[in-house]
Every structure is written in structure tokens, then in C-alpha cells.
Amino acid sequence: MPKNKDLKKILVIGSGPIVIGQAAEFDYAGTQACQALKEEGLEVVLINSNPATIMTDTNMADKVYIEPINLEFVSQIIRQERPDGLLPTLGGQTGLNMAVELARAGVLEQEGVKLLGTQLSAIERAEDRDLFRELMRQLDQPVPESDIVTTVEGAVDFANRIGYPVIVRPAYTLGGTGGGIVANEEELRETVANGIRYSPIGQCLIEKSIAGMKEVEYEVMRDANDNCIVVCNMENLDPVGVHTGDSIVVAPSQTLSDREYQMLRSASLKIIRALNIEGGCNVQFALDPQSYQYYVIEVNPRVSRSSALASKATGYPIAKMAAKIAVGYTLDEIVNPVTGQTYACFEPTLDYIVSKIPRWPFDKFTDANRKLGTQMKATGEVMAIGRTFEESIHKAVRSLEIGVHRLLLKGADELGDETLKIRLAKPDDERLFLVAEAFRRGWELQLIQDITSIDWWFLDKIERIVAFEDVIRREPGLTIETLYKAKRMGFTDRAIAELRREGQGASAPHTAEIDVREYRLQQGVKPVYKMVDTCAAEFEATTPYYYSTYETENEVTESGKQKVIVLGSGPIRIGQGIEFDYSTVHAVWALRNAGYEAVIINNNPETVSTDFNTSDRLYFEPLFFEDVMNVIEQEQPIGVIVQFGGQTAINLAAPLAKAGVRILGTALESIDEAEDRKKFEALLRKLNIPQPKGSTVTSVDEAVGTARELGYPVLVRPSYVLGGRAMEIVYSDEELLNYMKVAVKINPEHPVLIDRYMLGKEIEVDAICDGETVLIPGIMEHVERAGVHSGDSIAVYPPQTLSEDVKRQAIDITTRIAKELRTIGLVNIQFVVFDEQVYVIEVNPRSSRTVPFLSKVTNVPMANLATQAILGVKLADLGYKEGLWPEDEFVSVKVPVFSFAKLRRVDPTLTPEMKSTGEVMGRDRHFAKALFKGLVGSGMKIPQSGSIIATIADKDKEEALEILRGFYNLGYKLMATGGTAELLEKAGMRVKRVNKLSEASPNILDLIRTGEAQFVINTLTKGKTPERDGFRIRREAVENGVVCLTSLDTARALMNMLQSLRFSSEAMPVLQA
């Protein structure tokens, strides 16, 4: 079928900010889709509120709207643009929900916009629980038996009929509050009684538990001609019970016979056909490990995280194909871009195994509940490719960057047997390592299987890995056979050295990584690179997409061109998000433009950078010294660029340089000068640049002494940190001692930094330097004062309240530091302004989180220019002048987005430690409007009237008063507990007193739960124990979707914004006679 000629202009909806459950995969999908549509000569209009994406670059679509994705804004854009079609399936759940809302509101019909790919009815049938079950019944597809009950007796009757265990899901409670798996009647009675109470409609769903079954997924595609294919199937190592986004997954499935594989494949095709989807779809199954019995768990009628993984795992670009299908093409007429000679209507076949491991934020959120269940908690994921499971999982583990490079977790050997057993039974993020630990203790595989329900096949592999560790340890001399076997199993040189040291003592040969490496190279044990080609070598492919393994034939051919390797940023985590992938992609493009062959190494399957079309060559490999060195040896580049891949790549700079690799851009010494506290202080002293007073301490006593000398409050943090990890403001000796006990292990190797905390305005600058000219695209002013991590602050460009003098100081300091560090490329500097004086807090000699935002609002292609500078091009020759780039007439606001609702027990208070997962942008002529767009885009519901609950710490009361008065004058009702209420009354405001938590119900939590308050303003009382009332108030707000403001700065900005958007900030003037 040829292209649908009625379509000329198409609207694509993106997925908005990065949150847990919706990450960079939709930038990848959206980017592919936009490119695919433009290729067809269609005019593409894009809306996405997330500025940190490649898809929102102006070259991706004909028109890009970085606006909130809600009914109001999208409708407005539709009326303005009048597109012929809307592609809703590439923007995750956000895009899909938006499309449904637009359709239901009648906007699409009114404006004559055709829904492409998936029809409304299909979305509804896949998403609505009842419609879905009805459809499955019609298709004769089994779903777990379930019933909706409103009484405990009803639940008991049903459970008796279907048998225990059953899952209880209270209706309409957030994050599954009050539900869970129950094993017997007693538990059921208790849980259902609770669940009915929690549920606003007094309902619970009782469902047969299928926990423990194999979880298998199929990625399916269909076109308008009813051609259907399966792109990939995947098997979860974690049985049903753990969200697939939190599961370790392999592709293809490993323990299904052809009959089982085909049975589920046929079921998937039946479902996509019944839903009439034109595009991609994901079907999740539970398969009984002891029979052919299976259940359909879920169907996603759109491109998903799994389809991004499937695309990277197979090389088959699902999103691109989905876009082509949506505009009328059929699979059999679309050429397979991988082979260039076969067509998209075929099923990719793999000759390797892919492993995906999620990346969880528990290193940042130490208080969070680490247990894995039906609520996804991972922020990102890594993928690795190998020819055996052992090789593949080993590569995935070392891609995680959690300080682990094999199946060995520090401290696991100290767990008691009972604890180990419990932790194996209730999965958390470390279970893979704990399984290995159990094998190390000699536990029987069958026992571990009984406890974990993990398939025998996977357990056997882990046991083999552990067993082989012993072989490496015990062999008297390390033979080439053992070395080769170890490499084929994915052991790193470092692991081999460690094991040799454990088995043979530190004085034996091959007990240092470098020795193993030298020995290995001497013996010619080197990896070869194989191509990912969708067809297991059946057809000739030209995809420059490689992975390493230890075998015979190397498929990489020498191009003879000059090459540059760009290191990617690995998995998305808090503090290192999609922003770094954005810069990486731009660097690669700039290199290609300049005529170099751009080679990328990365391991994140969600990203644009790992699309094999992005670079000249993609190595899907761990960002681990050994793996990176191997690629370098293979490619012989003129150098390696480390400044776009965040801290991941920066951390590799030193070992690479030591191994003789040329680091392009800012020199290693300069990186070190900026990152090493002592050297950095010396640098600032030399330049006579002020910085907050502080010092480095190596013992608790020294810490207390220093803090007293500086005067509380002080800012404490361990040295060499990422994203403000473990950084805190402490107000007293007591708090400091507590911090020293809980947050850090202080010793001379791990010093702690203590700075005077200056309660000032924070500003941030990104600059590009070619060694001569320092170009500052823009200065960003933070709404929240110092003490809130820059990544969690609302940033405004251009600055709204800075004096010319402050700006001049910032420009001057930035210029001098950039030059002194002999920066080649990007540098990011954070300042605090105190009494009109600018102090330097931090210098990051690399691309920062704000590069995409600033690039978009200033139109200065920052990563591109930085790359050119790295290649030796002078900014002056490109027409750029030293200093600040002219400020934009529009105001742009970057608003952070958090995923607190998904992370139980995490305190939503803004602190020096970064907590946000993503960002949105609001842009308008006026600050207030821009902020409004930003806040709305971030998901904040801002009613024009309503109630505010205020609980303010004593130290903040005075400041809060003025803000609350502002809200009061705007007509908001105030509610407060004891002290705060008294204060407000004294100030002449009417206030509704509410009960504290300790007082009778209804108390403050009940008010939040029942939706009587629209905003909660709560400032932190110290002590981080979750029992504290403030913590419970904040959590309650977050879990009920109530706006929770923990910084008075944010509250003030919101209040000012509301004032500006009103006709008058005063009470309505009354005409008096």
C-alpha cells in the first residue's frame, strides 16, 4: 500500500519529562519517528515539554513546540497548526493518554485530525481493565481470574473458589496502597478490610496470583494489510511479581521450546490483530514453568521501553517502522535499513544473547524501600551483548557503574544465612549478586530455585560463573586455556587478577589488572567484534553496530579514515540523565560533519546515541576501562572525547590517559585541577576568585572543629561526588555527628568537605572555550537559593533579578577560570551570590545537565561548537565573540520533575542532594507565564483558588508569613497546625486550624488524602527519620498528587506568578460611596 496521500502534516506527541517508568526510550522513538516522517516529505509538528531531548531539536521536526503536554496547550497547537494526522503511539503513556483526552474532548473530530496507528477503541480496549478482559475472553486468551468485591465476605468466597495465593488491589489508590499478595484467609480478611477502607469507592479487585511464573514478552508489529511480525521476544530472569522494568531481562527467551515460543507468538499476533493496531505493540505473558498454561498479563498498544530494548537488541528499528506504517506503508514494501536489500516484513533472528539490567536510584535514595514489586523503581537500564549468557550478564553488570564488575557484591559475604534467605525470597535490586553469594556458600541450586523461583537455567549459569571463579583462583599457573575460557565467560582482567590474588596470594604473578592485561595481549587473547545485523549473518549487512566477544573472526573492517571515539554516559540515573546523551549525539554529529569517522561506545539501550544511525560506528559495550581500551586498540582513533559522557566518561579519562590514550579537549590535568578539591582551591586563590570558606577534613573531631570555626550552618559532603550525592546542610554539632555516622565513612582516603553555607542566590553558567575565546551562551538564575541542588532548582534564563554587576562578575570569573584551566570544549560553573558578591561553588570541566536547555533557548549549538573547538576550530573563525551571548527576549524556565510517587519512603524535601529525574521547559514573553508553563508542564496542578496547608519550621516562620499573605490575598484559604496557625492569626489572616498527626482524626493527613488542600507548604524540621510528622505530611501529599512545596523560594515564585497572572494582586477594589 502506498503512502496515504491525504496526509501532509502530522503532529507527533512526545513523552514529556523523564520520570521513573518513562525515560530516554521515547526520545529515541520520537526522534526515529520524526526522521521517518520527514523522509517521506511530510511536514512534522512536534510537541514535547522536555528540552533535554534530541527530538525537540529544530532539525528533527518542521515545527517544534516545547510546551506542556495537556489538553489546553495541545488543543491550542492543533488549532494553530491544523495537522492532518496525529501520531500518538511514540510518546509513551503520556502521548497515548493525551491522544485519548483529545479524542474524548472532541478536538480531533472538530479539527479533522486523524488518529494514526492505533485507534481510540484499541487504546481503550488495551488500557481499560474490563474491556481488556472482555477482549481476551473473546479471543480465547487466558487472563488471571479475578473479581471485584466490595465486602470481605465476597473476597473470601471468591478466593476459596480460585485458590490462594491471591492479589488484592484496592481500586483507585495510588501506588497500590493497601494491596498485596495474600496466602490465606486470615491475611485476605485483613488486607481486604484495609483495602476497602483505603479505596475511595470501597472496592477491591481480587486476582489469582501468578507470581513465580516465567515472564515473557513479545514485541509485535502489524500493518494495515494485516501483515504481522514478531520483532523480538524476551524472557525475564525475575519471575512474575517484579515489574518488567525492574526485571533482569534476556533476549531472546532461553528456556522456551519452539512449541512454547510459537504458542505465545501466535497469541501475540491474535491480540494485535484483534486490536487492529497499525504499528507496534507489546504483549506480556506469564507462562507456567510446568505446563503449557499461560496468561496474558498486559498489552501496550504503542511503542514502549521494551520495544526500544528490542530495537537495540535486534537492530530492527521499531519506532521508525511504526511511523512508516502509520502513514500507510506496509511491512513488505519497507526496506530493512540494516541489510538494505531485504524487507521489514521478516522476523529478526539473533546469534547472540542480550541482557538488560535495570539501574536503580538506591545509591542516591538510601532511605528508599529497595524491594521490587509491581511498581517500577529503576531510572534507567543497561544492555549488553554476548555470545553466551555468562559473557552477556558479566558485561551488563560492569556497565551498571555501581562499583561492581562481576557477580560479587561487597558485604554480601557478611550477611547471615537467614538474612540471605529472606533477601533472596523477597527480590530487591541486589538479588542477582545474592544468588551468586548463595552459590559461594555452597547452597544447592534446587534450594535457591525453591526460594527465588528463578528458572533453573539462569541459576545454573550463575553457579557456573561462581564455579569458574574457583578454577581461576586455584590453578597453580594461569594457563592460556583458563584465561581464554575466563574471557569467553566475560570475566574482566580485573576480576581475573582479583581471583588470582585471592587464590595465589598477592605476590603471585597476574594478580594486578595490568599484568593480566599484558599477559593476555602477549598471548594474543584479544576480543573480536561481531555485527548486530537482524539476520544472524544470513544476509550481508552494512550496519556499523558491533559488540565484542572472544572468538575467531573479527568483522570490523578498516575504513582508513581518521577516527574519534566519543564515550557515552551509560545508564540514566539521578544526576546523569538524558542531557548527556543529547550532548553526546551532537558531538557525534559535529565530528561527522567535520569529516571524521565518529565512533561511539555506550551501553544504554534507551538512547539516541545507541541508534546505529547516529554514529559511523557504534560499539555496544560497557564503559569500563578494559572494554573501552579494547575498542581503542581496534579502532586506533586520533583520540577520545570524554567531556560529553558525564562523570562516567570523565572518570575514564585518567586510566585511559595513563594507558597512553590521547584525551581530546580539555586536558586531563585541567580536569583534575577542577575536580580535586585542594588543587581547585589553589587555582581559585591564584586567580583571586572568592569561594565559600571551607576545608577538607579526614576525621570526625576535625570535622566538628572546622564546622564550629566556620559557623553553622555548614555544607558537608564527601569528596569526589556525583550529583551532590550525600551532600547535606547541617545546623548543629548533633546533626553533624549524625551525618558523619550515617552518610559517610570518613578516613584519610575518603575525606569530607565542609563549607560555610551561604544562604544566597545560585546562578549557573555554561561556557565554551577553544583555548582563546570564551563564549558564554547564557547565565541561568535559580529560583531556589543555594542549598537546593542545581538539578532540582527551577532555573531561569535570562536572569530576572541579577544586577549588571553580578552578571559582569560571573562572566569575568567564568572567562578567567576557563582560560586558566586551558579549557577546550565545555565548562560548567556554579556560583552563589551573597551580598552582591559572586562566589564559585563548583566547576565541572565538561558538558553539563543544562547544555540542551541553554542550547535551545539561546540557539547556540553548544555541544557542536565544543566539538569543533576540540577539533581545533577557533570560535572566532565561526563568528563567535568572547563573552556573553546576547540575551533572548523570551524568558525560559527549566523546571525539575520528580518521581517521588514511585519511590516510597523517600523524602520529597529539596536538599543539596539531587532527587529529580527529569525536566521540562516553559517559555514565554513574561517570566510569570513561562513559569506557569513550566510548572504545568512538570505535572503541577495549579488551581486558581483552593486551600493551602502550611506547616512551617520555626526558623522559616517570618519569611513564610509574607508568602502566605500573598496567597491569602489571592483568595486561597489557609489551613495550618498549632504554631503556624497562631502566627497567621496574629498577622490578621483567617486560618482554619487543623489537627496535627498526633491529634484526633480528621488530622492533617486526612485533609490531604481527601483532597481538601491543593497545596502543601512544608519546610524541613531537622532529623531525617521518616517517623517525623513533616516527612509523613510530604509523603502523603506526593502520594495523593497534591503540590508539595518544601522550599519557600518555590512557594514565593508560585505566589508571585499567580499574582502576575491575575488582573490585580490586591483584593478586588470595592467601589465605595
Partner: protein, 381 residues
Amino acid sequence: MQARLLLEDGTLFTGQSIGADGASIGEVVFNTGITGYQEVLSDPSYCGQIVTMTFPMIGNYGINRDDFESVRPYIHGFVVRRHEDIPSNWRAQYTLGHLLKEYGIVGISEIDTRMLTRILRQHGTMKGILTTGNERIEELRERMSVTPLLRDQVARTSTKQLFSSPGNGERVVLIDYGAKSGILRELTERGCDVVVVPQDTTAEEIRRLHPDGIQLSNGPGDPKDVPHAVETIRQLLGEYPIFGICLGHQLFALACGADTEKLKFGHRGGNHPVKELESGRCYITSQNHGYTVKEDSVRGTELEVTHINNNDKTIEGLKHKKYPAFTVQYHPEAAPGPFDNSYLFDRFLEMIREHKKNNLERPRQAQLAQALRGELQYAQK
């Protein structure tokens, strides 16, 4: 134990033995299926071939009683990157290694199977010798050059005895050229009364079975090695509805005057797209063939091309313009591979019913009575 695979072009792979001891010569081919190794191993169409699986880990779910496609494997060797010797699946009864040993099949693991596949793709399938012995390379080469590849695979794999699989439905005579069990399974599932006959059964013998339709099975090797089968089909054409699969499709084409040729490296796997020309629909099919019907040879015959491979555009399906007969190059019986094409068996049965309706307007009984009356009159004379 060590095992080695030497190719005709001189490439030597050294790995581990996973099967029987000894040496074995065959045509080295590759299959791209990820699952289905048991079905591949036991598919008689691989008779005389050394089969490489491109998926690196083979043996994961073991070997079970139910997934055999014939009573025994006929392959001459099995090549994998990694033999998974501790399987995990509820139906697994023993391991791949056991199976190979049980049937005296030589197997090798731990070699670069992707490299092997790339060689075969570039140079075409070729002869190879797989050995667990310590022979010198020259010796292996010598043995390989003096041993011709098999040409009698059909006779080797076909049933020696006629047997029946009774049912209450249409009677289908399945001519076994080395049939996969899947074909019989599909027919019996549809209630057919199936009589499986040896590959050299004559047309006369088949007529004696009074079939409603004739199923030509798949089978190994070059269709031109079984001229008698072509002749039989020619004699039966027009008389009975015919459905041919794989080798059966090629033999049918030859019987109708078309020609066949060898493909460079064949189609073996479960992911091949086939386009049905009439509907424009594309189907994912299971395939296993080294020969194909020559496209230009169809011209001038009474055959019509119904299906083509959407990748290399080779012929995948034919039908006779005059008679009720159609054939496909691929495997609608799946096993291994997708079930998407089993509708072809339904189509076959529809064709049979249609044929009956058209040709038996007068009830069978009347015909019989008339014939008997004639005989009676003759006797009375």
C-alpha cells in the same frame, strides 16, 4: 574431547565434541532458527547434511519425547557455538548430547559459528568433514574428496512400508519423500484418513487406495535425484487434488515441466517472508530448502506462481492453472517455526471437497451400480 570441522575450502574449525565419536561427511548448511533445534535435528530433509545453528546456545530446553519430526535424525553432523548440557524445561527428558550419541551423530561446539555462517553465505554451502579423531588434515581432505555427497536421501528417509493413520474425514495419501511428522499431524488434526506410502509407490498403487487427495511431502536433497517420483506425480495430476510441500513442491514443478536449480546457501530458518501474490499479504514462514523452482522455467507450463519470497523473490508457491493442485516451497506444518501458514491445509481440504462436488455429481453408488451391471451383462453373455 576435541572435534574438528574441515570445510572443502580448507577452513578448519577446532572445538569440542558433543556427540558420537567418529568422522562424518556432509553438506554444511546453517539454520537461523533460535528455537526448534530438536525439530531441525529430526527433520529428514536434513539427511546427509552437517547442520550449523546460528543461535549460539543450543540445548537450553533439552530434548523431549514429543518434538521429533521423524522417528530418528538423519543429519550427518551438528554444529553449535555452545552446547547447553544442563537443560531447563518441564518437558526436557535428556540432553542434546545424549541424543547425538544415541544416534551416532558427530557434533561439535565451541567454534565460531558466525564465522562459519559467513563463509557459507559468501561461498555457498559446501562439503565438510566433521571428526572427533586425530586424522591429519591431508587425510581428512582426501576422505572428503573421495566421498561423494548422498544422492539417495529420499530412499533412505522415506517409510519402507505403507501405513495408515485412520480418521473419519477425507482420505489423503501422503507420499513420504522423507516427511516431517508435522504434515501427518496437521492432516490428522483435521480428521483426515491418512495413508502414508513409500516414496516409490506407483500411481497404480495409489489409485488402489482410492484417495480423495494427495499430499506430497517434504524431503531431502535434489528433486532431480528422484525421477520416478516426478513420473508418478505426472500420472496422478488432474486425477486427484494435490498439495505439495517443499521437495513435494519441487517434484510437482518438475512433473509439470518446470525446472529446478540449487540455491547458493538455501533458506533454512523460521523467519522467511513469503508474499501471496493474489492478496498481497506477506506471511512469515518456516523454511528448509537448498533447491528452488527456476523462475523462468515456469513460463510456458500450465503453472502459475502464487507465492514469492519477499526478500530474494524466488518462487515459494505454485498452482496448476487447470487442475486442482497447489504447492508451496515452505513448511505450513511449522515445527519448528510459526504456525501462520497452517491455513494451507484447510485450503487443501476445501479443494478436495470442491473437487468431489464437481466430479461426483452423480452419486458414487450410481456409478458403481452401472459398472457392476456392465460386468454382470458381460458375464451373462
